[in-house]
């Protein structure tokens, strides 16, 4: 179950950890009851400050994905899916998606390839 971090990315490492773990949680690769690596262990393996990992775990705990205990460390918990997303979050999602597409285009990725990736993602979402 890999967590990937790109050291050359403009996205802060803290955000990459949160995003990477969230993908694993949403896809069911991390399930309720699973123990997360300790803050110290993950920070050592990634070569980042302990606070960076601790902050990422706190963010995911605030989102309801993790429970953090002083003795037990971070553990994945059963998370109740919100019943209804608020209308503003839908707009924010569309804006973010457009921004991502524009960013990829500006890096030289073709429209066709972006469309294929989006279609593949949509297929995966519909299947699960």
């Amino acid at each position: 179950m890999p967590l990937q971090i790109d050291l050359n990315s403009s996205i802060p490492v803290y955000r990459q950890i949160v995003d990477g773990l969230r993908i694993l949680l949403v896809n069911g690769e991390l399930n309720a009851g699973d123990s997360m690596p300790s803050v110290r262990r993950l920070a050592l393996d990634l070569g980042v400050h302990f606070n960076t990992v601790a902050e990422a775990y706190r963010t995911l705990a605030e989102e309801g994905w993790l429970a953090i205990g002083r003795r037990t460390g971070a553990r994945v918990v059963q998370r109740a899916t919100p019943n209804r997303a608020d209308p503003q979050s839908g707009e924010a999602f569309q804006r973010r998606l457009r921004e991502l597409v524009a960013e990829q285009q500006s890096r030289g990725v073709t429209r066709g390839r972006i469309a294929r990736e989006l279609r593949r993602l949509a297929d995966t979402l519909e299947r699960t």
């Binding site: 967590l3 990937q4 050592l44 393996d45 070569g47």
Partner: protein, 341 residues
């Protein structure tokens, strides 16, 4: 008179031979502490650097042997050898920098990598310290049964240096041995818990785990050997037993050294396949001063894999490393001073 010089010459040549093979034991994508393409070693540039390195090492060795044979100044001979080794390493590191490759910026960490604990558990690792603490307690309760003097150095024919038994010398000796055992057990724990795992999944991770385990086993076994002389000093068994201890120590250490050479740094020689692209050890080249000293304040690891040699070194960018360094240097010196006063 000639025999010690011949023995010393043989030791110097063995040291140089060992130093000469070290570049071949590092990770395939690290060459003289510089991240390079995994197939760089087969190129003409790499071979040229290696030949020059060997030439410098053996020139220093021959100079050291000549000084020893002509003047008998062993310390000067060792200084020449050390300077030659360091010069060869720094020079080769500088040349290898011209071929540096950009390491893969993407780090991958396996979140379910197996947890690694001290082999045999923490009690076994700290048993030498506990045994010395027990010996100290016995000494405190049975002071009258101690000999009036005890040996602090042994030759082939038995003890050749003695000190009078006083509370300062006896407890100084026990404290010194206990500190060294504690240092080894602590280092073994540190390798598992305060160093970075370069690979966490796949066959390379398994080889790396085996390497780490072997290093930790070496430290734990060495702790048991180091605890023995305190018992020998106070109970004064036959010189034969001390010789057996010396021979066993040499054999066990040799077995570990051969095993670590077989595994290669980080288990890289045993790993099924070299990395496809330059990965290095996930530490920046710029943080390796002279290719030997690792200084990276942004890295939380206190211990990191050596880039030249086998085993681990301190991250001098971490303030705790300096605390460890001072403790390692000052505490044994203070206790040895107390013992030999």
């Amino acid at each position: 008179m000639l025999l010690p010089k011949i023995v010393f010459t043989v030791i110097l040549m063995l040291m140089s031979a060992l130093f000469s093979i070290i570049p071949g034991l590092t990770r395939p994508d690290l060459f003289f502490a510089v991240t390079v393409a995994p197939d760089f070693r087969q190129t003409t540039g790499a071979r040229r650097i290696l030949r020059r390195f060997w030439m410098m090492v053996w020139t220093a060795t021959l100079a050291g042997i000549a000084v020893e044979l002509a003047t008998g100044l062993t310390l000067v001979s060792l200084l020449i050898l050390s300077a030659g080794f360091l010069g060869a390493l720094v020079s080769s590191h500088g040349r290898a920098l011209a071929y540096a490759a950009a390491p893969n910026p993407v780090l991958e960490v396996n979140l379910v990598a197996p947890r690694e604990g001290l082999p045999g558990g923490p009690i076994l690792a700290f048993l030498p310290v506990l045994s010395l603490a027990g010996l100290g307690l016995w000494v405190g309760l049975n002071w009258d049964r101690l000999p009036t003097r005890f040996p602090v150095h042994w030759g082939f024919q038995g003890p050749d240096r003695w000190v009078t038994s006083t509370p300062a010398t006896v407890f100084g000796l026990l404290a010194l041995q206990a500190f060294l055992c504690l240092l080894l057990a602590g280092s073994a724990w540190g390798v598992l818990n305060l160093s970075r795992r370069v690979s966490t999944s796949g066959s390379r991770a398994a080889s790396e785990r085996r390497f780490r385990r072997r290093v930790v086993q070496l430290m734990i076994v060495a702790g048991f050997f180091i605890a023995c002389p305190a018992w020998f000093a106070l109970f004064q068994p036959s010189a034969m037993l001390m010789n057996v201890w010396g021979a066993a120590l040499a054999v066990v250490m040799l077995v570990f050294v051969v095993s670590l050479i077989h595994l290669g740094q980080g288990g890289s020689r045993e790993a099924a396949a070299a990395p496809a692209a330059a990965e290095g050890d996930h530490t920046p080249d710029a943080c390796w001063k002279w290719g030997v000293f690792y200084f990276n304040p942004a890295d939380p690891a206190i211990l990191t894999e050596k880039r030249f040699g086998i085993g681990y070194t301190l991250n001098f960018g971490n303030r705790w490393s300096w605390a460890v360094m001072f403790a390692v240097l000052l505490i044994p010196l203070a206790l040895a001073g107390l013992l030999l006063r």
